[in-house]
Symmetry: C2
Subunit: 446 residues, 2 copies
């Protein structure tokens, strides 16, 4: 595992030393939220918490890391001795993975001595940002597929191995059925999918030969038919089926180029005419939610989408305007007043209200308020230890995401930006924001 103790911006360490020197050890609350949804998005899906909590629970500095920090000019011996004994001892509150959320809603709150909460800033932003953007992208792709199975083929086009592997997990949460990434299968127990590449077909003496050999070894495989010419490839599958008779068990053919709408219809017709009605059609090659939506809305006879590049890096929205902000220190609300960067002070809770099973409104409230609706932030770490009861299997997270997505107003699930979901701020929080602003000004703090 990549050791994450040094995975922090340098200023986290300089600030940590300053907190250390100044004796600033009071508890702080940092809040993780997204300031603005990406242009086409009506909601996001929280993801990445489980991996993050593992990292935080095990965050330690190894001697060679301490040695490296000692080589940097900002360090001091007493500070490094303190770092060598660093453990995260704080509390973390979070929305469940799989929960849809909206602008300015805290999805994670970290309550810990300020240095501890500060040190994990870069890690929290990077890791929750990654899985959240990818789970959210996957939900769009899955929605466009209208019930047709979606498989993640993105490992090669993801931005690095961490993105590809945690991405596979996030896609699964977002409703994708399987991944081609074997490392992700191993680490997260995800279902795997995969068949053959063009290179295998090309390396064999002929395409027919390639199909025959592959079926001998893997009878229920998927055959890739577009290496030379898709229609000719399908003819060879049909011929193989005829020659094999009852021993022909091929599960599917895969089309990876060309006009997928027309080719899938031609392929279906050829397979059906040959009595191969059970042989499915997998398509791949440059797919995104818009192209998938076009194919499914026209009724192209496709049984599975393999989606790579565009989903792998969430190409239309490759990062989030995600922020991790100090909202309370030593019992007082904190906020910045910088232009265009509102942050709500203090610890908070988010209440989601439902009518007839449909989410109608969220209210961001102060921690401790009791308002109508379901409180979304729950304790997931207490005194540096994970709360076991809040940890759940990936299949449960996936089911929760699916159920919560289904409970969104249908128009929010559209692929294009719709009017906003109603997110209100409780009266008490609005008052507290004003009070904090007044206090900052009155104290001449700003």
């Amino acid at each position: 595992m990549f050791s994450s103790a040094l995975f922090a911006d340098l200023y986290e360490f300089t600030m940590l030393r300053a907190y250390f020197e100044l004796g600033m050890t009071a508890p702080a609350t940092f809040s993780l939220f997204v300031r603005k949804l990406p242009p086409q998005r009506n909601f996001l899906i929280a993801a990445g918490l489980d991996d993050l909590l593992d990292e935080i629970e095990h965050l330690r500095f190894e001697q060679q890391q301490i040695d490296y920090l000692a080589s940097l000019e900002f360090s001091s011996k007493p500070f490094l001795d303190w770092l060598a004994g660093f453990r995260f001892s704080g509390d973390i509150y979070a929305m469940r993975e799989g929960a849809p959320f909206f602008e300015n809603e805290p999805i994670i709150e970290v309550v810990a001595p300020i240095a501890e909460a500060q040190l994990i800033e870069t890690l929290v932003l990077n890791q929750i940002g990654l899985q959240t953007i990818l789970a959210s992208k996957a939900a769009r792709v899955v929605s466009a597929a209208r019930g047709v199975s979606v498989v993640d083929f993105g490992a090669r086009r993801a931005q690095g191995m961490d993105a590809a592997t945690k991405g596979a997990r996030a896609f699964y949460i977002g409703g994708v059925d399987a991944t081609s990434n074997v490392a992700a299968g191993h680490i997260y127990g995800l279902p795997l999918a995969g068949t053959m590449a063009h290179s295998f077909v090309e390396a064999c003496a002929s395409e027919t030969d390639a199909f025959r050999s592959f079926c001998d070894i893997f009878p229920d495989t998927t055959l890739l038919v577009d290496t030379y010419d898709t229609i000719e490839g399908v003819k060879k599958v049909v011929a193989l089926a005829k020659s094999r008779g009852r021993s022909f068990k091929v599960r599917a053919v895969r089309l990876d180029s060309g006009d997928l709408d027309t080719l899938s219809r031609d392929t279906r017709r050829m397979l059906d005419d040959a009595g191969l009605t059970d042989v499915q059609i997998v398509v791949s090659g440059g797919l995104d939610e818009m192209k998938i939506n076009e194919l499914t809305s026209r009724g192209a006879p496709i049984d599975m989408f393999g989606v790579g590049t565009d989903m792998a890096a969430s190409s239309d929205a490759p990062n989030l305007d995600i922020a991790y902000k100090l909202t309370e220190y030593a019992g007082e609300g904190r906020m910045k007043l910088s232009t265009g960067k509102r942050s709500l002070p203090g610890r908070k809770q988010v209440f989601r209200q439902f009518r007839d099973g449909v989410a109608t409104k969220d209210v961001i409230a102060r921690h401790g308020e009791t308002l109508p609706g379901v409180p979304l932030l729950q304790p997931v770490m207490v005194s540096g230890r994970r709360v076991a009861a809040q940890s759940c299997a990936l299949s449960q997270i996936r089911a929760y995401a699916s159920e919560q997505l289904a409970a969104l107003p249908p128009k929010l699930r559209a692929l294009r930006r719709h009017e906003r979901y109603d997110v209100a701020i409780s009266d008490e929080l609005a008052r507290y924001e004003q009070e904090t602003r007044d206090r900052l000004n009155a104290q001449g703090r700003s």
Copy 2:
């Protein structure tokens, strides 16, 4: 380190088993190239080779990985025994890291027994794709900065820890001066940069107090001045300078929000008026190459750009149309004929021609041809071992990138798409492509 042996699409393993069962052990050549440049790009910069070669040289299956593969239905005992002894034994030819390259040019060629070259496909695509897209993005940002220093602040917004850390390396190759990512500093020996965040200012009793305390600990620091109001923040820095006199050593102020053009001019004037002409101005906050270009072209008095989100995931082009294709097996050229996916058969070389120190034309040729110009593909791994002479320090890679970028026709360095650089195919390669196509058809292979 993330163990990369399982970082492969499932079909690599199914094909490997098929090669194993069919006794297909002849040497193959796979070629890595980008089919199409992203919309705004006139060139890309090759990066990621050094990390990739390390991964390949040390690629081994651990017992628990073999056990996992054994649990998947495609496996067989003899195949897994073979995998347990897997070592990469092939040769690799590559362009130097930092080399600019264009569409369809092989940047890496892998020559190895087909199973070995096949297994590393996902890894090669993912890792070279990652650093190449990020180094290329950085070159744009650095070019827009017109000599003003650029620092990578992107760790929090990168797609995962692998992307953030290898990204810092790639940005450095592309001309960025330092990174805020401490892990990247540790792993790659990169220069680090970083100062303070809003949270520190907010946690202190007042902004003045925050500045004073921070300077006591880090006299030559950069102070972040926009937490409450940028101009008021600068006034406090000026006041601090007055009260400290000669012991005032603050190196810079950082502006992180608002209209950076106007604010940087106002700040410069205020600092200069106070005799603080040595105090530099660092700006950050939502910058990309277009915004930087606007600031530098207007002559905003900025001494350093901190660039995060947009560079971190190369937002305008978050992935490449990068492909790793079989081009030769058992001594014969191989290619696919699928719609819109040309791949050139056989082993190759790329010659770059210069006139008066400016690159004028590239020619993609067959391996073994001798043509005018500099041959860009050089052996970097032989029989599974790295060629030491080809390994070079990051500073040399960075210098090479800078020198090669300077040798591009100036119009190619524009931020928008220009006419294409001239990339030709040698007569011999064109003939070989036609022969291969004819042979495939004549043999009825297709």
